[in-house]
């Protein structure tokens, strides 16, 4: 098992290198660069001056020289400076990474807490009234676009009822580290988090329900019943473990969805995270920040798939070999 | 001259492993198999799952690529031919598959299924095509109106007849039948076996009959090759193999056929136990020092066995 995890982590190195290369090359293909982004349309800066700045920042070097320099610094934790914010990308990102990760984890955990019991109920008692209600909820969750739902949540719970704050990640007047500070953080998390989680459940419920319905008919479940295993235990001991496999396999994909979703959520709830910064840096052509964020998101997906694999191998002995 | 001559046929599949999916080893699915088919005979290829019998059949028709050796059909080597040249010869070889439920495309009606080989090889007007299909469908004992029906509307035996009709459309010389009756009930199996024997006479067919069922093989085959781990262990007439098995593995297979006389069941059980004991103690003496089975060595003009040269 330890060997498997180690080997699986080794596989990540070439994946990450390839990812960084693709991102770098693609970013270079984008029209314009940081200099055009910053000074385009500014009548005080002549094209000659812009060219001089480019030379200064090494933006005229061949791409592989630039890539080498970038990756060399990146492994040391230096992702360069943001041209628009005039500060190191790492310190710019630090607080926002924490916010986005908190938000994503909140969505992931809450959606599993809701989806797993509902999926089990719907699968075990398929076609019952409970199942029909869960399926109806699922249809709504699948059909509703995240930004529409978030806006409704924001309007209703944020403005009409006023239960939750409508922007930012924490009350700025509070001192970091105090109890009130964390309570405020949590309150700021609830609206964007619940908006994301309530919709993210749909996929998991559907997967789990379908898999339980399939697994129920498998021969080894007949074997279990023929052994005299009580119905509840048939589910806990035999069906559920098998039906968790596709959910675990789905985790990597789920994380991709969260990253995409966080862009909407952070914009709508003015939540200072990576997504919000991502949009700003694209419009500002802040090349270093964009690549850093894409790199972080890509890494998250790669780590997610690795986690999927490790969880799968923990549940399923057939994967442990090799 | 023999119709089909398989010479030292090898089909190896690479096993890939490690970081860069390098080829780390080979599965020798078929590892040096040779046999001949005379026109008009039925040759049985028997063995248990994984012995390479199906791969051998598929390699002859080109569904698996031969890694080495020759497949001479009427003197032409199919194994080394490119796709274009093989096409000209391959219409004389057709295949019948095991599962009559999945080997027919459920979205096509019988007319389209049976006419498919014709469309691949001949240019016919729709009218000519329809006549040929109708003749064939009556020949295999189905009603003429059934050409507009779909596979799911037929029983297992009828579906296998449709598969056979498709194979016969181009007037082939050789039919490779891969477990054609294994998925069928005994009474339906009897129907298909009788039918295959009947059309063999009428169409002058040669059969390569692949099966794990020794009862069926004994019933339908003139000569038999027994395969184990990608190689032949014994070859001979049905008489040779069933009444005078020489190789330990053959004996084991024959002893495994259920005894149809209830009074002899414990006798049979003891015979099997004897063979199993021999299997444990003598097993290694049937392999050379590289762990490979010996080549076939003729005992009589019809009967050969894979035992060490110079006897045991």
């Amino acid at each position: 098992m330890v060997k498997f995890i180690f080997r699986r982590m080794l596989v990540m190195i070439p994946q990450l290198l390839l990812l960084s290369l693709i991102i770098f090359v693609l970013a270079k293909q984008m029209p314009g660069d940081a200099v055009t982004g910053a000074f385009m349309g500014n009548p005080n800066v002549t094209p000659e001056q812009m060219e001089k700045i480019r030379e200064e920042y090494g933006l005229n070097d061949p791409w592989y020289v630039q890539y080498g320099a970038w990756i060399g610094k990146a492994v040391k934790g230096d992702l360069g400076d943001s041209y628009t914010h005039k500060q190191p990308v790492t310190s710019l990102l630090a607080g926002r990474v924490v916010n986005t990760v908190t938000l994503s984890l909140f969505i992931l955990i809450v959606s599993y807490i809701i989806a797993i019991p509902l999926g089990i109920i719907a699968g075990r008692w398929a076609d019952s009234w409970a199942d029909k209600m869960i399926i109806t909820y699922n249809y709504f969750a699948f059909a509703t676009p995240l930004f529409v739902f978030s806006l409704l949540m924001l309007f209703f719970f944020g403005f009409v009822l006023g239960w939750f704050p409508t922007g930012n990640s924490v009350d700025v007047r509070l001192e970091a580290g105090t109890w009130d500070f964390y309570v405020s953080k949590f309150k700021h998390l609830v609206l964007p988090g619940m908006s994301g989680a309530l919709l993210a459940t749909a996929g998991t419920i559907q997967y789990l329900r379908n898999d339980i319905i399939d697994t129920k008919l498998k021969d080894f479940v007949k074997t279990a019943r023929a052994k005299g295993v009580p119905e509840g235990k048939v589910y806990t001991r035999h069906i559920l473990r098998n039906s968790m496999l596709p959910i675990a396999a789905f985790l990597g994909y789920e994380i991709t969805g969260l990253i995409a979703g966080s862009i909407f959520l952070e914009m709508i709830f003015s939540y200072p995270g990576l997504g919000q910064l991502f949009i700003q840096s694209i419009t500002g052509r802040d090349f270093t920040v964009t690549t850093a964020i894409v790199m972080i998101s890509g890494t998250a997906v790669i780590v997610g798939t690795m986690l999927s694999d490790i969880i799968l191998s923990a549940i399923d002995p057939r994967i442990r070999i090799e | 001259m023999s119709l089909l001559n398989v010479n030292n046929l090898q089909v190896h599949f690479p096993i890939r492993g490690g970081f860069f999916r390098r080829v780390v080893d080979q599965v020798r699915a078929v590892d040096g198999v040779s046999f001949e088919l005379e026109p008009g005979e039925t040759y049985g290829l028997v063995g248990e799952s994984g012995c390479g019998k199906t791969t051998t059949g598929r390699a002859i028709i080109g569904l698996n690529k031969a890694t080495g050796g020759e497949v001479l059909f009427n003197g032409d080597n199919l194994a080394t031919m490119n796709g274009h040249d093989r096409r000209k010869h391959i219409r004389d070889i057709q295949m019948i598959f095991q599962d009559p439920y999945s080997s027919l495309n459920g979205r096509k009606n019988v007319l389209n299924i049976i006419a498919e080989p014709l469309r691949n090889f001949e240019r016919l007007s729709p009218k000519e095509e329809l006549t040929r299909v109708q003749n064939m469908i009556e020949r295999v004992g189905l009603s003429p109106e059934s050409i507009y029906k779909y596979p799911h509307q037929f029983s297992g035996g009828q579906r296998q007849r449709i598969g056979i009709a498709r194979a016969l459309m181009l007037n082939p010389k050789l039919i490779i039948a891969d477990e054609p009756v294994s998925a069928l009930d005994v009474s339906v199996q009897a129907q298909v076996l009788n039918f295959m024997q009947e059309i063999q006479k009428d169409f002058g067919l040669t059969y390569l009959f692949i099966s794990h069922d020794l009862g069926v093989i004994k019933h339908i085959c003139d000569r038999i090759g027994i395969m184990y781990k990608g190689r032949f262990v014994e070859e001979g007439t049905a008489e040779d193999v069933y009444n005078n098995p020489q190789h330990l593995y053959t004996k084991r297979l024959i002893a495994a056929i259920p005894e149809m006389d209830p009074a002899k069941r414990f006798e049979k059980m003891e015979l099997r136990q004897e063979i199993n004991t021999a299997y444990r103690t003598e097993y290694d003496s049937y392999f050379d020092k590289d762990g490979r089975m010996f080549d076939l060595k003729p005992l009589t003009p019809t009967h050969s066995v894979a035992i060490q040269q110079g006897g045991m």
Partner: protein
């Protein structure tokens, strides 16, 4: 005769198809004694598997209607609520399934799966359970029990897995075993090994066994008594020697003469005319086999065919067996009929 273990009385199993119930098992009665192997043989669609699943209560209760009685140890299993049935399944009643590749839970160790019935039916310490599992593995002919105990199903060959499936069924010393096509999914040499193993086990246990199979060869090797099933009914019941030496019902005779290894080489095999009717289309009036032997005159059949005891212990349904002949024997038989 040894003591009766299982008594099936007038069992009728009907499936709901588009709102109507159709009987797949249509009034079956059978008694199984201690240490006796009763084979139920027939082709696909005859109702033999539906019968096996009815005995052990594995049908979907929403779409299946069970009538009649299945008596085991003085209780009618068909009337028991599932909680009570669970006290019997796996304990007094064991089941061996057809396909060892799918009958085991892929995520649990072999040891765990064999020990599981003991969790519910036997009060044993975990050490005692393990001891019993290793003992069972030995009984089903697995040499390296300590290693196999810790392994998972995918690490075992088909033959080994089937031995494990048998060990599970035997775990709590059942008085009755249902074996549903236990050798069908296996290679020939493995099939022989499993048949021999089951014969061996029959010597050391007292269980009655119902063996469901389509293979008359397996019947000849393993059964004491045979019930031949066609279209939901038993058409012939006899002890195994009688069935093979003196088969009477037209269906039994037809089946036996359609087996290739039973016939001399290249002889034409007997083909049963027509097809097995589906349970919706089955004509339940009169002799159900009559449409498959149209050359036999109608008056040879009974109006309401019943099982007749023609010799002690040898039952045949309908009277048509008296006038049955194969179509190719027609000439001499016509003489026979006229005399």
């Amino acid at each position: 005769m040894a003591e009766t273990v299982l008594e099936i009385e007038n069992l009728r199993t009907s499936f709901n198809i588009k709102g109507n119930y159709y009987a797949a098992v249509d009034g079956v009665s059978l008694t199984v004694h201690k240490n006796e192997v009763v084979a139920i043989v027939g082709e696909s669609g005859c109702g033999k598997s539906a019968l096996a699943l009815s005995i052990i209560g594995l049908h979907n209760t929403k779409t299946t209607k069970l009538e009649g009685q299945v008596n085991l140890k003085g209780q009618n299993l068909l009337n028991l609520p599932v909680e009570k049935l669970n006290k019997i399944r796996g304990k007094d009643l064991g089941m061996i399934f057809q396909d060892p590749m799918t009958a085991l839970n892929p995520l649990a160790t072999i040891g765990r799966q064999i020990a599981e019935p003991m969790d519910y039916h036997m009060k044993l310490s975990s050490a005692a359970k393990k001891k019993r599992v290793l003992e069972l593995l030995g009984q089903v002919g697995i040499k390296d029990a300590n290693r196999i105990y810790k392994q998972y199903p995918h690490e075992l060959s088909g033959g080994m897995r089937q031995r494990v499936v048998i060990a599970i069924a035997l775990a709590c010393n059942p008085v009755m075993l249902i074996a549903d096509e236990p050798t069908t999914a296996l290679d020939v040499t493995i099939q022989a090994q499993i048949m021999d193993l089951m014969k061996e086990l029959q010597r050391i246990t007292d269980s009655g066994i119902i063996l469901i199979t389509h293979d008359l060869g397996v019947v000849a090797e393993m059964a004491n008594r045979v019930a031949v099933m066609y279209a939901g009914e038993f058409v012939e019941i006899a002890d195994v020697n009688t069935l093979f030496s003196n088969p009477l019902h037209p269906y039994t005779r037809s089946l036996l003469s359609s087996i290739p290894s039973n016939m001399t080489d290249k002889e034409e095999l007997h083909v049963i005319e027509g097809i097995v009717p589906s349970i919706q289309k089955l004509d339940r009036e009169g002799c159900r086999f009559a449409p498959r032997i149209p050359w036999i005159s109608e008056d040879a059949h009974e109006d309401k065919p019943t099982l007749h005891e023609v010799e002690p212990g040898h039952f045949v349904r309908c009277t048509c067996y008296k006038k049955f002949h194969f179509p190719e024997e027609r000439v001499e038989d016509e003489n026979y009929v006229t005399t």
